[in-house]
């Protein structure tokens, strides 16, 4: 067997493994989320299907496979079927680029499916493709609410994608590479990037909440406003595929945040004196960090109310975008003139930026929270359907 064929077969195996790992994680994430939300509301959560409710995900999956797959009369047949496939395909592909260990550390092969030098750019490109799934799904449903949900969703996702792309510019300047591996290596030598890019991390965190359509930014599926947004006309496995895509995106976002800002698969070095080699334990650190962020996603869902659509857009464009640019310029200025001092100064400046934001939080909130000018009563009557 030629060498390249062996390599491709290994990749195929890894891709299938990663896919099944992600799908299992998704299934159990739904259970964990329901259990945790229940705990936070002093309830118990699903505990009847299997011990501790552990078979609940299997029951849900079997139910969605065996349900009738409806397609409403006005739906566009081809696009309606393709949209969930695009959504889940892009969501799963995005995760393959995350390194889960140093090269050759997985039984002699690399612990990732693909590793491009332009890793971050590839990731951003794939997540942009995910927007197509949601928007086309909404459009092809041939009904009013899905279209509104799809429009809102795509506007939201592209807006926050901008913030996402801009908030990592400072990080890229520091590291000088877009490859995930290099970024992890840089952090192993110089310290976790969260230390020097607190502001950038805060912006990235908010953007990834909005990108994955989670509360407080889950407007596209705001049940009280738009029925279920782009999901309204979907049933059976297609509906499940969209849900799957959302949760897989959440897992990917957690992994990306862990890799970019929290040292990726490397553990904290200060633990080394106690247990030698602990900072390089394979996989465990990455999984721990992903689990932490997933918990954060659920915790925030239980805590924060949803934003109104105009607040959401103002938040993205008036706060996130200028702040991301400010963060970029801050890092740029430091790297140009302050390099002799040491990186801790940049960390301090970045932290000061976040603290300043908190100190001025009332002023800052006014940027996106106050309704702008009132609408004319006459104008209000002719406004097209679709609302604010």
């Amino acid at each position: 067997m030629p060498d390249w064929l062996t390599q491709l077969l290994i990749t195929l195996l890894k891709a299938v493994l990663v896919t099944f790992a992600l799908l299992t994680t998704f299934a159990y994430m739904t259970l964990i989320e329901r259990r945790l939300l229940a705990r936070m509301q002093i309830r118990v959560g699903p505990n009847r299907v299997g011990p501790l409710g552990l078979l609940q995900p299997a029951a849900d999956a079997i139910k969605s496979i065996f349900k009738e797959d409806l397609r409403v009369t006005l739906a566009d047949k081809l696009v309606y079927t393709l949209a969930p496939i695009v959504a889940i395909g892009m969501a799963l592909t995005a995760f393959g680029g995350i390194p889960a260990g140093p090269p050759q550390s997985l039984f002699g092969t690399d612990p990732w499916v693909y590793q491009l030098d332009a890793g971050i750019l590839a990731l951003l490109a794939i997540t942009s493709m995910g927007v197509y799934g949601i928007f086309l799904g909404g459009w092809a449903s041939g009904s009013k609410y899905p279209i509104l949900g799809g429009l809102r969703s795509s506007a939201q996702m592209i807006s926050y994608e901008l913030g996402m792309g801009l908030s990592i510019l400072g990080l890229l300047m520091l590291v000088g590479s877009t490859s995930f591996l290099r970024i992890v290596e840089w952090q192993a030598q110089q310290g976790w990037l969260i230390l020097f890019q607190v502001l950038g991390f805060a912006l990235f965190l908010v953007s990834s909440f909005a990108e994955t359509n989670r509360t407080p930014f889950d407007l596209p599926e705001a049940e009280q406003e738009l029925v279920a947004g782009y999901l309204t006309e979907y049933s059976a496995i297609k509906w499940a595929l969209f849900q799957m895509a959302e949760y897989v995106n959440m897992i990917t976002a957690s992994a990306v945040m862990a890799t970019l800002f929290f040292g990726g698969y490397r553990g904290p070095v200060f633990l080394e004196p106690f247990i030698p080699g602990i900072s390089t334990w394979p996989l465990i650190w990455l999984l721990l960090k992903i689990a932490f962020f997933l918990f954060l996603f659920i915790w925030v869902r239980a805590t924060l109310p949803r934003l109104r659509y105009d607040q959401l857009m103002r938040f993205g464009w008036k706060l996130l975008l200028p702040l991301a640019l400010a963060n970029t310029l801050l890092t740029a200025a430091f790297l140009a003139f302050g390099r002799g001092v040491g990186l801790w100064l940049l960390g301090l400046l970045s932290l000061a930026g976040v603290l300043l934001l908190f100190a001025l939080s009332d002023r800052v909130r006014a940027l996106w929270n106050t309704p702008t000018q009132r609408r004319d009563p006459e104008e209000a009557q002719v406004r097209p359907l679709g609302g604010d």
Binding site: L74, G89, A91, S159, M173, S179, I237, R314, F337, L385
Partner: protein, 131 residues
């Protein structure tokens, strides 16, 4: 590759790996849809296939009807294209930044300033207001 870099260099096979991952991911979706189409019951009735409208006959909306939507979504998309192109120009600058300082700092400032002029314009035009 810079000297002293321990990072590995990407090989053409990485792109093949990427394609493999993409195909597997899309394949999962296709399989799921086919499985559901084969396994589920098929007893569609006219009422079942009606679009959702809380029990009423659906009005407006949908593909092929002349339902119109606010121009804001279009504006957001245009702004996104413009600003995303600016971001695309910024990535190479950011990656090569450390080799080019300090002069390139002023270039970066100029670039951001140009961006901000456009931003200020749309801000004052009220494009970022969703009333």
């Amino acid at each position: 590759m810079r000297r002293g870099d321990k990072g590995r260099r990407e090989t053409p096979i990485e792109y093949a790996n990427f394609v493999v991952m993409l195909l597997v991911a899309l394949g999962i979706g296709v399989l799921a849809v086919i499985a559901s189409a084969l396994l589920g019951p098929k007893k569609a009735t006219r009422a079942k296939l009606m679009a959702y409208e809380s029990g009423n006959d659906p009005q407006g909306g949908g593909v092929g009807t002349d339902q119109r939507f606010p121009v804001h979504f279009y504006l957001v998309a245009m702004l996104f294209i413009v600003f995303d192109i600016e971001t695309a120009f910024f990535y190479p600058l950011a990656v090569a930044y450390q080799k080019l300082v300090p002069f390139v700092f002023f270039e970066a400032v100029t670039f951001v300033a140009l961006l901000l002029v456009g931003y200020y314009y749309i801000l004052k035009k009220g494009v970022l207001e969703w009333t």
